[in-house]
């Protein structure tokens, strides 16, 4: 057990699984880097933010494959390799690049098992960076997990901390279905105690980071930390919050969300993905449909506006959910009075 960063936890998960199972291979743009370069070095980058550094050295060129910048072909190759005996972990450098290979994910990998009558297994993991907060602007800052959640046949994982990331990624690599594993790029340096050994965290099981009796807050990925900070502040004002980290948007732990809302009667959902048809909307519909009678206030979503992610810092800060906005949303649902019928 030692302090590890989000980046290290992910690196470790891949490393441990590649040691355990020779069928696990890694591919992506510059996952090593340096191939064919004039410096003659290998592992020049280890991934654009260094997440996969050192893996080429341990596992060699047969298992750590740098790709040309051709998402359609290599993501499709990862899908084809998955149904023919390998367990590929393919990296989409930024989730925003899914536009170049959506067919291979949406129409091929996601649907093989169903279309082929249950006779295909597609043990594919696609890792991608997501999230705003680095001034990376509109084409490098999206979240897009709702897009993948929308597609039957995919599993979608959004880890909220280093401990979570390692366990969920090992689970993803061992899972026999196609998994989209999204890493918030702003979190790579965050540290936490993480066991050295391999461990798994099951999909479809939410984590409660704290419990309180007044409001349920559901948050995803980096937003879980913000929700916890807001909950700390709210506690000093006498408002107790339960914070739910669903961990996976697909499968979604509906039971935990519904039970917590039944307890508190109030729901605030924090979701940094674009607001139309996002997870906050999906969960709001679920709760409105199945826990309507428990609600003592309208459901509030803390989400960005319906715009591309802006570049300037001041605008990006306005765009993203913040601790203050979460606090305000919780306070607003606390101030709603339930009127008795005459």
């Amino acid at each position: 057990m030692s302090k590890k960063s989000f980046r290290q936890a992910i690196n470790e998960a891949i490393r441990l699984e590649m040691r355990r199972d020779p069928r696990v291979i890694l591919m992506g743009e510059d996952v090593a880097g340096g191939r064919g370069g004039s410096a003659g070095i290998k592992d020049a980058w280890g991934g654009v933010l260094g997440v996969t550094k050192g893996l080429l050295e341990e596992f060699g060129e047969d298992r750590v494959l740098d790709t040309p910048i051709t998402e359609a072909s290599y993501i499709g190759a990862a899908a084809g390799a998955a149904v023919t005996g390998l367990r590929p972990v393919a990296e989409l450098m930024f989730v925003d690049f899914v536009g170049c290979c959506l067919d291979q994910i949406m129409n091929q990998a996601a649907k093989f098992r169903y279309m082929f009558g249950g006779k295909a297994r597609t043990p594919l993991v696609i890792r991608a960076m997501y999230g705003a907060g680095f001034n990376a602007a509109a084409q490098h800052s999206q979240a897009l997990y709702p897009l993948f959640t929308h597609i039957p046949g995919l599993k979608v994982v959004v880890p909220s901390s280093p401990y979570e990331a390692k366990g969920l990624l090992i689970e993803a690599i061992r899972d026999d279905d196609p998994v989209i594993f999204l890493e918030n790029k702003v979190m790579y340096d965050e540290e936490e105690d993480v066991p050295d050994e391999a461990y798994t965290i099951p999909f479809g099981e939410a984590n409660l980071t704290r419990e309180g009796s007044d409001v349920t807050i559901v948050a995803f990925g980096r937003m879980v930390g913000l929700a916890n900070q807001a909950a700390d502040r709210l506690e000093r004002k006498g408002i107790g919050c339960t914070v739910i980290d669903p961990r996976t948007t697909s499968p979604l732990d509906r039971d935990t969300i519904l039970e917590c809302v039944a307890d508190t009667g109030r729901l605030v959902i924090v979701d940094e993905s674009s607001p139309r048809c996002n997870m906050a909307t999906d969960i709001a519909a679920l709760v409105a449909e199945e826990a309507f009678d428990a609600l003592r206030a309208p459901i509030r979503r803390v989400v960005p506006p319906h715009t591309p992610v802006p570049f300037a810092t001041v605008l990006e800060n306005l765009y993203l959910p913040s601790v203050e906005r979460i606090e305000a949303a919780v306070t607003s649902v606390m101030n709603v009075r339930v009127t008795e019928k005459a």
């Binding site: 291979i25 499709g76 023919t84 093989f112 009558g117 249950g118 006779k119 279905d177």
Partner: protein, 321 residues
């Protein structure tokens, strides 16, 4: 090259099966009983069969929306295919895929594909598996002149070359991508495209089984020997529309009739093997009769087989959810 008698008989049977399967579907589809779209392979039989005669069960193929021929050539069972096309639970995909998604991973058939250009990347993946697992197998992508322009296809030619994959790219050029001619839609030549990615290029007449067999033997040997990918450009014609129901208004009157008359691969095969005394007319007639029976049974069975039930709707989205 001398082809074994067994192979000749098997290949003839495969081509005859495809012909009768597709012609029968043409008739049955007109009754309105078959759901969805079908895309018929009549006229192209020698291509799929000629290539697959050089493959084993360990090798992988990927096909297109016009996939029945490749399925039969690779060994997918006729009864299961017919039931699938009729949407029965006894279908090879349990009625969940239909004509455009027929697959049988057990015999290396990665599926017909409803997305033009969907196959080549998957074949890069299958080839990568074969190379990594060192099992000596190759992966073959069948795609049309239309798909040859798709970004995913061109990327796949690049990727297979960069990674030196045991992949074979078979362009079944029937001159039409849906309703638009290849002469309009394809810039340059397939030959130049192969050269552009540094891979060997072979070409053959798709109505001649022997030509296809010979050329594909070379292409497949190249890949199997670890020399990287290669392209085979097969010239052929489809006798029916892009989909059943397509009136083919984009083709000149008499074009199809001429193809049927002068470029019927089955007629040409029969002429050649009997003239060279490789096979007897009687042996071929026997095959024709057997296949006719097989198709008839398959259709009757498919029409009588059970439909999928409500639990089938929710089954097999995931291995474990």
């Amino acid at each position: 090259m001398q082809i074994a008698r067994e192979t000749l008989l098997r290949s003839y049977r495969a081509m005859r099966t495809i012909r009768m399967f597709e012609e029968r579907l043409h008739v049955e589809f007109a009754t309105g009983e078959i759901p969805g779209f079908v895309h018929l392979y009549c006229g192209e039989e020698a291509s799929g069969v000629g290539v697959c005669a050089n493959l084993t069960d360990n090798d992988t193929i990927a096909s297109t929306h016009r996939g029945h021929g490749h399925c039969i050539a690779k060994g997918v069972g006729v009864a299961g295919m017919m039931a699938e096309i009729y949407g029965r639970s006894t279908g090879v995909c349990r009625g969940k895929g239909g004509s455009m998604h027929i697959a049988d991973l057990g015999c290396g058939m990665l599926g017909a594909n409803g997305i033009v250009g969907g196959g080549p990347p998957l074949i890069c993946g299958a080839a990568l598996s074969h190379k990594t697992l060192r099992n000596g197998a190759v992966a073959v992508a069948f795609y049309g002149d239309g798909a040859s322009n798709e970004g995913s296809t061109l990327e796949s030619l690049n990727l297979a070359s960069v990674w030196n994959l045991p992949a074979v790219f078979v362009v079944e050029d029937n001159g039409y991508g849906e309703a638009t001619a290849a002469s309009y839609a394809c810039a340059g030549t397939q030959k130049a495209r192969a050269a552009a990615f540094g891979m060997p290029y072979f070409e053959c007449d798709g109505s001649d089984f022997f030509a296809v067999h010979q050329a594909s033997a070379e292409v497949i040997a190249h890949a199997r020997a670890g020399n990287g990918p290669a392209m085979l450009h097969v010239h052929l014609q489809r006798w029916y529309g892009h989909f059943e129901g397509d009136a083919m208004t984009y083709r000149a009157a008499g074009e199809v009739a001429e193809a049927r008359r002068d470029h019927d691969c089955l007629k040409l095969f029969r002429e050649r093997v009997t003239q060279a005394a490789l096979l007897e007319e009687t042996a071929l007639d026997e095959i024709d009769a057997a296949v006719a029976d097989e198709i008839e049974s398959a259709v009757m069975q498919a029409k009588a087989d059970p439909l999928p039930q409500e639990p089938d709707l929710l089954a097999d989205v995931y291995v474990r959810y």
